[in-house]
Point group: C2
Chain length 292, copies 2
């Protein structure tokens, strides 16, 4: 039983954890802190949190579990602020989409308390936002990645895993490096590719004509281009080493398509499209639950 | 009233036109021709068509309306075969995703009868396939693009427009060049971009690990990579001039992201992501009906 849970950043991700733990009867009191007062008021009115804290320091005082669920770019300053105020028994985790940079920020900010930080990344809904979008069911059947540190005690990792499992999630463990490589490829690159396509068209004089005739293929391909620009700027920069490598591989692949097209090379296109179509169909058959 | 409608290629697109015209009481008899006998048998059993023709020539004999709804790469040979067998009053149209190449094929194949060919492109469902997927409601609220030829009589263009409107569709007219430029950008390029991403990941030793952690962003971005490889090879090559130009613009945009990332240039990323996110949100608010 968690006596006091501090949620720093009471949006979809943080709010849904609070609601799910409440529904599971696993938490006593939830205290929330965030930048937007209206959002915090709404979270309180909806019962997502039980108390609004005036600062991150006040939020974590006396808390036995602390979740950082703000944009990754804001985490470094938060670690610095909360470090002196953490209870001795407190365990800290996060919901950041990148792990190596968050861990570096945690090491710098938490200092000797780094052992009590267990890094995490729930793979769930990044599109809706705000406490009003929170749901106690968000994590049911979802994956939560934990990237434990060498300093973490196994019991502490187990306690954070247990917290997410109580929300209905499955746990996968991997190294921070592996996490960032995988998500550069399957999440961060697709976001940049979608932003790039929409911005390219939106900047043309005849943009309205293009958008008017765009159909469901375009709609789905570009859905993630509606995501938060600031959040994705932070993620892209935080994971830039892996992401530049993925962009280079993708640019190379698209350039090969370009050259095949210009040369009228039907076989190269057919082989690549066929491999992709088969892989996509196999994947879709196996995966329907990873929502992000 | 159409006495006899010939559908060459009885899949989702051709079959749905047949069903919609039947539901509207606008067609007497539908005769179908296609390469797959099992599919034609199913179309007959489902009442999508009333008769199976043994050849394209037999299908168009006596028909007053003819729809070519096969892959664009197969249309040139079909125009050649049907030309001598078209009734004097017959009007021919097509459902090809590219227009300049189909028109060139029609000019070559139909010769002096080119005036009776009104090129078209219904923007509707390319993912499910086969006569069994056909629906009389497919075109309700959808856009159908017509790209009339200088040789077309206005009454003939109106007759083809009327046929699609009877299925619930809206008609947009544009030039074949304009059509191919627009769809290179909003449809053909996104398909290649999705194929490229999936093939890139599928070819890696650790592909299974990547796909296991792919979420809903990846799912939607790559949905169109599950499309027919042969159909998209044909479309890409048919529209290669416009598509190479779009690929070049996209490569340039992605390269700029790559350079901004490598340089840690947050402003460039933020500005582009913001323009894209705003444009995507505006578009989504205005468009929910273009299905393809």
């Amino acid at each position: 039983m968690i006596e006091r849970l501090a949620i720093l950043g009471v949006g979809l991700i943080g709010g849904s954890l609070a609601l799910a733990l409440k529904q599971a009867g696993r938490v006593g009191r939830v205290v929330g802190y965030g930048r937007g007062r209206a959002n915090l008021d709404e979270a309180l009115a909806l019962g997502v949190i039980d108390e609004i804290a005036a600062s991150p320091e006040a939020a974590v005082a006396g808390a036995d579990r602390v979740l950082l669920a703000m944009p990754v770019g804001a985490m470094a300053a938060t670690f610095v602020r909360i470090a002196p105020h953490l209870a001795d028994h407190a365990l800290v985790t996060d919901a950041g989409s990148t792990k190596q940079d968050v861990i570096a920020a945690a090491r710098a900010g938490l200092g000797a308390r780094i052992a009590r930080f267990v890094p995490g990344h729930p793979i769930a809904g990044a599109e809706k936002s705000g406490a009003a979008a929170a749901s106690g069911d968000l994590y049911v059947g979802r994956n939560v990645i934990l990237t434990p540190l060498p300093e973490n005690a196994p019991d502490d990792v187990a306690a954070i895993a247990d917290l997410w499992r109580a929300c209905g999630a499955q746990i996968a463990e991997m190294s921070p490096v592996e996490h960032d490589l995988i998500f550069a490829a399957v999440s961060h690159l697709p976001h940049l590719a979608a932003f790039a396509l929409v911005d390219e068209l939106a900047g043309r004089p005849e943009a309205e004509l293009f958008f008017r005739h765009a159909g469901s293929g375009f709609r789905d391909f570009t859905r993630i281009a509606g995501s938060s620009p600031a959040m994705w700027r932070d993620i892209a920069l935080a994971n830039r080493q892996a992401l530049v490598a993925e962009l280079d591989a993708y640019l190379s692949r698209l350039s090969a398509y370009r050259d095949a097209l210009a040369a009228g090379d039907a076989d190269t296109l057919m082989q690549s499209f066929s491999r992709a179509s088969q892989a996509r169909s196999r994947w879709h058959g196996n995966n329907t639950e990873n929502d992000e």
